[in-house]
C-alpha cells in the first residue's frame, strides 16, 4: 500500500505538485494557511487537516512548499511544528527554496527524533510543476533520498542527489546565482537593441541560438519586449533567494559582485512597486 503523504503549502507550485502525488495513487493530506487555496485539491480527493500538528501525526511522508525561510522554520521547529509531532521513521522533505543552514539544522533535529529529513528545492516554475517536469535538487542522507525517489519521480524529471543536508539548497542557490547576473545581461541587451534603433525581435533571431543564448533570453526577453510582466517567477521571491545566496556567500568569505548588483537592481524595482511582477520586469529599469 502506498504511504500517506502530507502536503503543506498550496500555492501555485504546491497545488500542482500535490495533484501529481494524488494522481499517482498516494493518499494525500493537505494543510495550507489559506484554506481556500486547497479547494481544488480537496475536490480531487485530498483530505484537509486543521493544523500542521494533525497532519504531522498522520503522514508517513511530509512535503513542505511554503514561502520564506521564516515559514519553514516555524513549520518544522515551532511548538506545533512537524518535528515535534511527526511519527518516528517518517520522511520530511522541504521543497521550498530556503536557507542551507536551516536545512542542516532541521536535519540534525530530525535525526534526534529518528525522522529522515531532506532538502529538495526545485526549478522549473509553475509550468514545470504543472507538467511534472521539475528539476529536483536534493540534500540529506542518500538512503532517505533513494527511499523518496518514487515520489520525486511523480513531480519531476531531472532529479539529482547533491550531497548531505543543505546540499539541495546550496545547489538551488547556484541556480539562482547563475540566473541573477544573467537577467541583468538580458535586460541590458534588449535595452541596447531598443535604444540603438534596432528591431529587438529581429535581434533575438540573431542572438538566441549562439553563445549569448540562454533560457532567459529565449523565454523572458520576448515577454520584456511585449510588455508582458505577469509573474512566472515573482520579483519578491527572487529577491528572497538572492538575499539567502548573498548571506551564504558572505559566510564563505566570497564576494559576488554580479549577484549583489542584480539584487540591488531588483530591490530598486521592488521599491517601484513591482514586487509582484515577474522577474522579466527588470526591463522597466531601462525602458518604461
Amino acid at each position: 500500500m502506498n504511504k500517506t503523504v502530507g502536503f503543506i503549502g498550496l500555492g501555485v507550485m504546491g497545488n500542482s505538485m500535490a495533484a501529481h502525488i494524488l494522481e499517482a495513487g498516494y493518499p494525500v493530506l493537505v494543510y495550507t494557511r489559506t484554506k481556500q487555496k486547497a479547494e481544488e485539491i480537496l475536490n480531487k480527493g485530498a483530505v484537509w487537516q486543521e493544523t500542521v500538528k494533525d497532519l504531522s501525526e498522520k503522514a508517513d511522508i511530509i512535503i513542505t512548499m511554503v514561502g520564506y525561510p521564516s515559514d519553514v522554520e516555524e513549520i518544522y521547529l515551532g511548538e506545533n511544528g512537524i518535528l515535534r509531532h511527526a511519527k518516528e521513521g517518517a520522511f520530511v522533505i522541504d521543497m521550498t527554496t530556503s536557507k542551507p543552514s536551516l536545512a542542516k539544522k532541521i536535519a540534525e533535529k530530525a535525526k534526534e527524533k529518528s525522522i529522515h529529513a531532506l532538502d529538495a528545492p526545485v526549478s522549473g516554475g509553475d509550468i514545470g510543476a504543472r507538467n511534472g517536469t521539475l528539476a529536483i535538487m536534493a540534500g540529506g542522507e542518500k538512503e532517505a533520498f533513494e527511499a523518496c525517489l518514487p515520489l520525486f519521480s511523480v513531480m519531476g524529471e531531472n532529479i539529482q542527489y547533491q550531497g548531505p543536508a543543505g546540499s539541495g539548497q546550496h545547489t538551488k542557490m547556484c541556480n539562482q546565482i547563475a540566473i541573477a547576473a544573467g537577467m541583468v545581461g538580458v535586460a541590458e541587451a534588449m535595452a541596447y537593441a531598443e535604444k540603438s534603433g534596432l528591431n529587438p525581435e529581429q535581434v533575438l533571431k540573431s542572438i538566441t541560438t549562439g553563445a549569448a543564448g540562454s533560457w532567459s533570453l529565449s523565454n523572458l526577453a520576448p515577454r520584456m519586449l511585449k510588455g508582458d510582466f505577469a509573474p512566472g517567477f515573482y520579483v519578491k521571491h527572487f529577491i528572497k533567494d538572492m538575499g539567502i545566496a548573498l548571506e551564504e556567500a558572505e559566510l564563505m568569505g566570497e564576494e559576488m559582485p554580479g549577484l549583489a548588483l542584480a539584487k540591488s537592481l531588483y530591490d530598486k524595482l521592488s521599491a517601484q512597486g513591482e514586487e509582484n511582477s515577474g522577474t522579466q520586469s527588470i526591463y522597466k529599469l531601462w525602458v518604461k
Copy 2:
C-alpha cells in the same frame, strides 16, 4: 562566372571563412599582415596580394576580418585603403566586430564612390567558422545584403538582415552585452558550488537544463571546473567588444551596470596576465 573575392585578415576565424569561400568555387585573393598565416589557404589555391591596394583594385567583393576598430579604420579609410582603390560597384563587407559609428562612416564614404558597404559581424567562434555555421548579423542597404547572401550562406547558417549601416555591429553588441553579465553569473555560480563543498559537476546536472541554462553554463562552466582556460574567445577581444558597447551605450545615455561590472572584472583579469586566455578564465578571480 563567380565574382572574385578578396579576403583581408587571416586569423583563426578568417582562415576558415576564406577556405569555405574558396571551396564554394570563388576565386579568392588574400592579404593579411603576417604572410605566414596565409600559407594554408595559399596551398588550397588562394592568390596572395602584396598590399590592400593590390587586392582592392582586383576584387569584386572584399571581406575584412581583422582585429580592432583601428585596423578597420586604416584598412578602409587609409591612404592605401579599400575605399580609395576598390572598383566602382564593388561590395565591401566588414565582418570584424567593430564600432557601429565606424560602420556608418565607412558606408557613407563608400556610397560617395558607388561602392556597396555592409557591416556583418559574426558569432559562433572558431568552431562556427570551421563548420560554416556562423551566425551573421548584417547592416547596410538591403539590396547589397541580398546580393551578398550566396556568399554569406557559404560561411554561416543563421544569417539575418538587421537594418541600415551599423545595425550589424549594434546587433553584435547586443550579443556581447547578453554574454557579459551572464559570464559573471556563471563564474559566481561555479565558485559558490566549489566553496560550499558541493560537487560542481553534479550541480551542473541539476542546473543546466532549466531556467539557469545558457550556452556559457553548458560550454564554458565545464572548462572552468577542469581548469581549461584555452581561448575559444580571447579575454582581450571580449574587453574590446565590451569597451565599444559601453561607449555606444553612453552615447545613448544608457547606464549598463552589468556590462560595466563585467568589463571591470575582465580588465582586472587581463591585468593579472590573462589577456590571451579564454573568457572562461574569469573563474580565476574566484578560484585560483
